[in-house]
Amino acid sequence: MDQVIWIEILNRSRDVAARVRFAGPEVRVGRGYDNDLVIDDPYVAPKHLRIFRDEEGRLVAEDLGSVNGLYLDRDSRRRDRIVLDADHPFRIGHTVLPVRDPGYAVKAERVAAPRMHVQGLLPSLGLGAAVLGIALLALWLSETGEPRASRYLVPLLMWGFLVAIWVGIWSILTRVFSGRAQFRRNLVIALSGLLALALYSELAHFMSFALTWRFASTYTYVATACVLALICFFHLREIGPTRLKLKGGVIAALLLLAIGLQTLWQSEAFRDFGQQSFMIRLMPPALRLAPVRNENDFFADIAHLRISVDADRLKALHDDAAR
């Protein structure tokens, strides 16, 4: 054996648990301590196999008469000899072992995404203050009764508690899977999402009043679900930057499912109880942007609404007749 080889031992999640360098002509592998590489796997024989180079210089693994045998990984056919290939590890017992020589071509260096420089406490504080400010302002502007401290404190504490739990769970997950909790980064993600939601809700309120664009408030649930999905995606990216497409796909699918269910629920409630999610939300008249319409134009729209109402009725009669 004139060349160095590397043998790796993979753990259950197929990460490399150990990597050993060998320079000899032959490597013996087994559970016994007389081997060159000792494997702590009860399903591996004391003298399980040897790895050597054949006449043509190929690396070969050869079973030394074990009970459980030698397999290529992800293959169920037992083999006596395997000509090794760096990309196809072999398996003995429950242990998977890739064998590679120094010439093995590793992948090119991955370009690092520019790290968000949000390690400090400042961004979280700033975001937190912004969310808090908007929430308090919205509460204050919708205050019509006797001012009460509990009206402000209870929702704020509740939301603070929820955010803490949410960020805590993601931090624990991040810690489990990537080693570092990244609490501040997770906090920034959650607070950004909350800020987006708060801004959206105020904007939707403004648009439905000032421009009489109702769709923004009608579809608040879609916007909420989207923001939530984005937050989850960024949290998942914190956990590990691998398989981002898969994670994105799963989140998109869940998002569509949630929106679909909510839409279905709303349309069924609309049919059964006739409650379109219609709420009049006024603002000071000075904020009006849409022009004041002539009453004839307004009543033309009203006449147009009749078409939808009559269509509802025909559809209802049709459905009743079908049943």
């Binding site: 019509t144 009764g145 009049i280 603002m283 000071p284 004041v292 319409r293 002539n294 009543f299 009559d310």
Partner: protein
């Protein structure tokens, strides 16, 4: 049924008290009272009308009725027979007379507007009731009337009460009878001391004491005359007939409402249209004395028509409502005031288990509107909500809300609710209503 049982238990308690009093008091006079004489003549012609579930053969509701001719015709309330009229496959009618005879009942005609129905019994040659002759009964307030029927399915009774003339502020003509009408007596006759029918028991005011109503007898007499003149005319498809009569009735109601018109009433710097129709009950409301101290003052009037129409057990419609609230901030800022106004101007939602049976989903439209050109009109935030009646064509419930948009600290919230109205009629009325919201000149 549960409600009936509860009421019945309560009645049993009352009856027990009554018995105790009777023992303690004077023995009854031996001379028969007027009520005794009237009731003694009643048995063969006084009826209980039962709605029976055809499949089970058991009664699902009971009312009363009375024979009006030798041909077996009898009068009762439409609301006593409404289940049969609407669902003839599921229900049928039976009668039990005060003389103990029983038999089948055939529904011949209905008068939705006056809550009356004509039925035919297989009971001929029995004595029958006569109506008081003439357009008006010629009675004076305080005259004795005797109302008969079978309250709560407890047995036939006679109730002594007084005639108190026609009810005021009502669109549907009714006689005010001061006497105890109870569920189950609907459709029974109310007669004078000589046994002539003045009216038909129809309803009572819950929350009042002995405030009961009769349908004037002349409506029953004229319905009867129509049926006798055209015996074959009785519609067999009562559901379609109900739709037709409802349409005619509401056309009359809204024609009258439109013709009576609106009169301007001042609310702070605004003037608002109030109805001039006499069949509305109007009430004022202010929040000035509310504790904890309010932060915006409301002065409002609310006018509701007394025009409701029974169509089915779960559909009573035909009510019209107008209200105006003048709202002024005390120490709310403009945003807070706008929130406060929003709370005052939500569309009223009719909902519940039977929503889907009678109505299509409600749809709304809102915009900023100003009545054409003239400078007297403040800009409004106007909302229009509509749902159609599923089973009746061109019939809608419409709700219009307008909030003035000229000041940030003061506004008029005006609402108009129209039940069972044609779309075009509603549009025309709403237009007049919105044009009625003006600045005071």
């Amino acid at each position: 049924m549960g409600k009936l049982l509860r009421t019945a238990a309560w009645f049993a308690a009352l009856a027990a008290v009554g018995a105790a009093l009777a023992f303690a008091g004077e023995p009854p006079a031996s001379v028969p009272s007027a009520a005794e004489q009237v009731f003694a003549a009643a048995p063969a012609r006084l009826l209980q009308i039962r709605t029976v579930v055809a499949g089970a053969g058991r009664q699902s509701s009971v009312g009363s009725g009375f024979l009006v001719g030798p041909d077996g015709l009898a009068i009762t309330n439409y609301h006593v027979v409404s289940q049969v009229a609407l669902e003839p496959q599921t229900y049928r009618l039976e009668y039990a007379a005060a003389d103990g005879s029983r038999g089948a009942v055939e529904l011949l005609a209905i008068d939705l507007a006056n809550d009356l129905a004509v039925v035919r019994l297989d009971k001929h040659d029995a004595r029958f009731f006569q109506f008081v002759a003439g357009e008006t009964p010629g009675l004076t307030k305080g005259e004795r009337l005797f109302s008969m029927g079978n309250p709560l399915d407890l047995g036939f009774t006679i109730v002594e009460g007084t005639y108190n003339g026609p009810v005021e502020h009502t669109y549907n003509e009714r006689v005010h009878f001061t006497g105890a009408l109870n569920p189950g007596m609907s459709g029974g006759p109310a007669v004078t001391a000589d046994g002539q029918v003045v009216g038909v028991n129809v309803s009572k005011r819950s929350g009042g004491e002995l405030v009961s109503f009769l349908v004037p007898g002349r409506f029953a007499a004229s319905l009867l005359a129509r049926i006798r003149a055209h015996p074959a005319d009785g519609p067999r498809d009562f559901r379609a007939e109900i739709g037709r009569q409802l349409k005619v009735w509401q056309a009359g109601l809204y024609k009258s409402f439109g013709e009576q018109g609106f009169r301007p009433v001042a609310f702070g710097p605004y003037q608002a249209p109030e109805t001039a129709a006499p069949w509305f009950n109007c009430w004022s409301h202010t929040n000035a004395s509310v504790i904890p101290k309010v932060r915006a003052s409301i002065n409002s009037t609310n006018c509701r028509s007394d025009s409701s129409l029974f169509v089915a057990n779960d559909l009573i419609t035909g009510s019209v409502q107008l209200s105006h609230s003048h709202v002024t901030t005390i120490d709310l800022n403009q945003f807070q005031f706008a929130t406060f106004l929003s709370q005052q101007s939500q569309p009223r939602l009719i909902s519940g288990g039977n929503y889907r049976k009678w109505y299509t989903p409600q749809r709304c439209h809102e915009d900023f509107v100003a009545a054409s050109g003239a400078p007297d009109y403040p800009p409004l935030r106007a909302v229009w909500c509509a749902h159609a009646y599923r089973q009746f064509e061109d019939l809608y419930d419409i709700s219009v809300i307008a909030v003035t948009q000229d000041r940030g600290t003061e506004a008029l919230v005006s609402r108009l609710d129209l039940q069972a109205i044609g779309y075009d009629e509603a549009t025309a009325l709403a237009k007049r209503f919105l044009e009625g919201v003006q600045w005071t000149k």
